[in-house]
Amino acid sequence: MAEVRIRGVRKSFGNVEVIHGVDVDISDGEFVVLVGPSGCGKSTLLRMIAGLERITDGEVMIGGRVVNQMPPKERDVAMVFQNYALYPHMKVYDNMAFSMKLRGAEKSEVDQRVQKAADILGLTPFLERYPRQLSGGQRQRVAMGRAIVRDPQVFLFDEPLSNLDAKLRVQMRTEIKELHQRLKTTSVYVTHDQIEAMTMADRIVVMHDGIVEQAGEPLDLYDNPTNTFVAGFIGSPAMNFVRGTVRANGGPARLEAKDGVALPLGDGWSGQDGRSVVYGIRPEHLVLAEAGQRSVESEIAVVEPTGAETLLVSRVAGGEFQAVFRERHAFRPGTRVQLAPLLDKVHLFDAETGQRL
């Protein structure tokens, strides 16, 4: 086990730079999730840690050693690939034993480790099968088994669940999490699915266009996003945004948006009078206004009940607001509702920079 330090890492393919100086510190035993939209450079960063991609600039350290020039096998990392990359001509057992056989380990030791890993993952009945004779979920498990058998310093996962169906994905999510709690191996997990990130991570690193936007514990990121990108990326359904100007004169603080619509703001924001901002409110922080409560009027566009909760899409100030209700209400499209934002849950971001105020 080891900690991983990424210091000012850059990566260029030819003369196109795709990672522009990334710093991430991962402590020993931590489960860190790299999350971000497609093409932001998550896989590239992971592959640089693994040693599959040359590091253009900066340093990667594993367990206190700079590994920039070190070949992958000396880095002592194991990787689970998106397409699993199982050797099709080897049985499950041999797939899992391959790395140890290459190292020339004792047959009895290999056997013991493979049996143990198979036991942990419930693969014992499948050891004599070829990968093509397994289901997607079983293959995924073999890929993890191959990593576990090596007992590496660091586990690297590149979207390991994206080829599974929704239900299996949820199940494997839990299994990987349990596995980590059991083995406590430092893990770096790449995904573009923010729910996966939220549910699995000790710490999330949000990437966007080759830079780190924010890193922190899942709920911290959720409660205190540092900019509009993170605010919009973390959380589902996504945060509602409205552009406008803060007004504090002639009444309580409010956001003046298009078409003269006013959204209520807490008094704490009075100091920002006249500033152009982006107003952000999460769907679960909108409630139905009670009499006398400061609210905004909206027209119901779509009602999506899921049973446990109801998603309400309505029109406000030329845009759309999504609101989530746990209670059941008789909403009818075309009618109007008064939505009241919880004032202490409102986020304001600078309109120019997108940074949190």
């Binding site: 096998k73 990787m79 990359a85």
Partner: protein
Amino acid sequence: MATDAERVRAQRTESFSDRWTQLKYDHNWLGFWFMLPAAAFLLLFLTYPLGLGIWLSVTDTRIGREGGFIGLENFEWLNEDPVFWLSVFNTFLYTTVASVIKFGLGLYLAILLNSHMPWKAIIRAVVLLPFIVPTVLSAIAFWWIYDTQFSIISWTLIEMGWIDENINFLGEPNNARASVIAANIWRGIPFVAITLLAGLQTIPQSLYEAATIDGASRWQMFRHVTYPMLTPIIAVVMTFSVLFTFTDFQLIYAMTRGGPANATHLMATLSYQRAIMGGNLGEGAAISTAMIPFLLAAILFSWFGLQRRKWQQGESDD
């Protein structure tokens, strides 16, 4: 009465059209008709010459004279003929040495072409050249390269001071054998290399990445990933390569005509010499027929080599 007859006739046509519709949808029956043209072609162009060849081998036909059935006399005759056995030996030597080297060099070349290098596309095209040049043309080129007086190889070696006099490439039995084998290798390598290259390109890159992380060296990657994944295509390529080499005729005939002293006579060239040049169609056909068991053995070998391996994609689960 008349109405009864009509009814019967109507019934008959009805059942006839019924059966017609049934047949139209019966895949086996339809399939038979669709297969017929292809079968006829095969019969005409493959089976007929083959059958004729085998028939001739048990007759004493000569050019210009209809022969009669003589049983296995031709084969008994050949069995006593040291030239025939020499040609069998030559054919095996030629096929074995050429195929082994073609495989080795072809695989090496394929791996080289599969790696990143500048001008990859152009180099790949160049590798195909020997395959594109007509055989006889390349044979004539080799003829010049191996010429007793003007050989460029001899000339180079003399200039470099390695040897004192011209090498007698095609005039001395073992030199001649080595020379024709070299020419065959030169000509056969592109086929092996390009086909294996196609095979190499079907191996997913991620397997190599997984192997890299598993700690495999380059040799171990070849040994444990590339080679096993390539075996099916190796079986195909080498079967064809062996068949082509075993039945080679053009190259030898253009370069040495089987000489010197029959040292480079293959079964195919000997058969041509006896049958067409010598006029003994029966005896020539017998030599050709004698190749059949060997070719069948090669095909059987590849048949087993080509059996779906258990790990491959596809139906048969066992």
